[in-house]
Symmetry: C2
Subunit: 163 residues, 2 copies
Amino acid sequence: MTDARAEDRSIPFLMHQIVGRVERLVNKWARPLGLKIEGVRVLFRLLGGERSVNELARLTGVEISTLSRLLGRMSAMGLLTRRRDPADARSVIVSLTDTGRKLALEHQPVYFRDYEEVLLGGFTGAEAQALRQHLIDMIDNLDAAGDETKPGAGETAARAAGG
Amino acid sequence: MTDARAEDRSIPFLMHQIVGRVERLVNKWARPLGLKIEGVRVLFRLLGGERSVNELARLTGVEISTLSRLLGRMSAMGLLTRRRDPADARSVIVSLTDTGRKLALEHQPVYFRDYEEVLLGGFTGAEAQALRQHLIDMIDNLDAAGDETKPGAGETAARAAGG
DNA sequence: TTTCAATCATTGCATTTGCAAATAATATTG
DNA sequence: CAATATTATTTGCAAATGCAATGATTGAAA
């Protein structure tokens, strides 16, 4: 068991493992609802109010073309509606139907918060908070690095958070 | 910019964001090589020596059926070979070809270590180490929770690491 | 107003995905 | 040895993915 390790502890790989596991757990749970994790994210995000497709993409982290089609499916399922934004006819406003809202509210207790509780089992509040901040910092680092299209040999790393 | 936030700070979501960004960065870089991130993982993992498909799946976090097909493609690209394990004819041993090894070695400098450096930009060594350990703990938590098929209302969270 | 650039969303297309079933070989048990 | 359970890998199939290109609308500049 401790044999196949070695090199398994890089941060990106560990995070990949965690995200993959969470996805599999959520997918398993959401399958009876006819949804996968992305659909679940969309559903619960919309509980907070109407959003444009663009906002939804940013808020859920789903690729926008993927999202567009996902919205089509969820719309066909009767979970949400799409209508043109009167103020800007390029945008499409997505909102939950009563059915969608009902579904979301019914299953709210097993949403991400609970997965977060699983993830953070055994963590102190301070540890959890430090972790959360570190994750946010890493996102900033990535956004800074993303501008360069290529990470380079590592020279640009420290600058991102160092200021 | 600080407008569309709200609820963006759950641990699973933040990690999803990070993993997605890393994937996009690596995919962009790896595309000229005819690979995506999973292929890159396989390639560099094999640099450490031959592996069975099963081991490779565990080590790279790639779904096994996906991996099987990916190996077929990479084999067709001349990057690796598959042969039956003489000691256990159920297993298939995957190893790099000279071409594959050459490719891996050429591009080693921009592999995950560098992305890790990007991610950890501005982190102290202690912070990085704490983060790494937290990630490992979270994987353990997930594995413990995975046995139950469903996360429940949150009652099982603390038990996982608390013992 | 006309023209050109930027933004938002959708779709074409080939590729890839994941689950579940199938296939094959080995371990275990009696 | 025979029968059964377990492990390793591959494939059938329907569905989903992402990039790039398109259509439609708005904003800016002259």
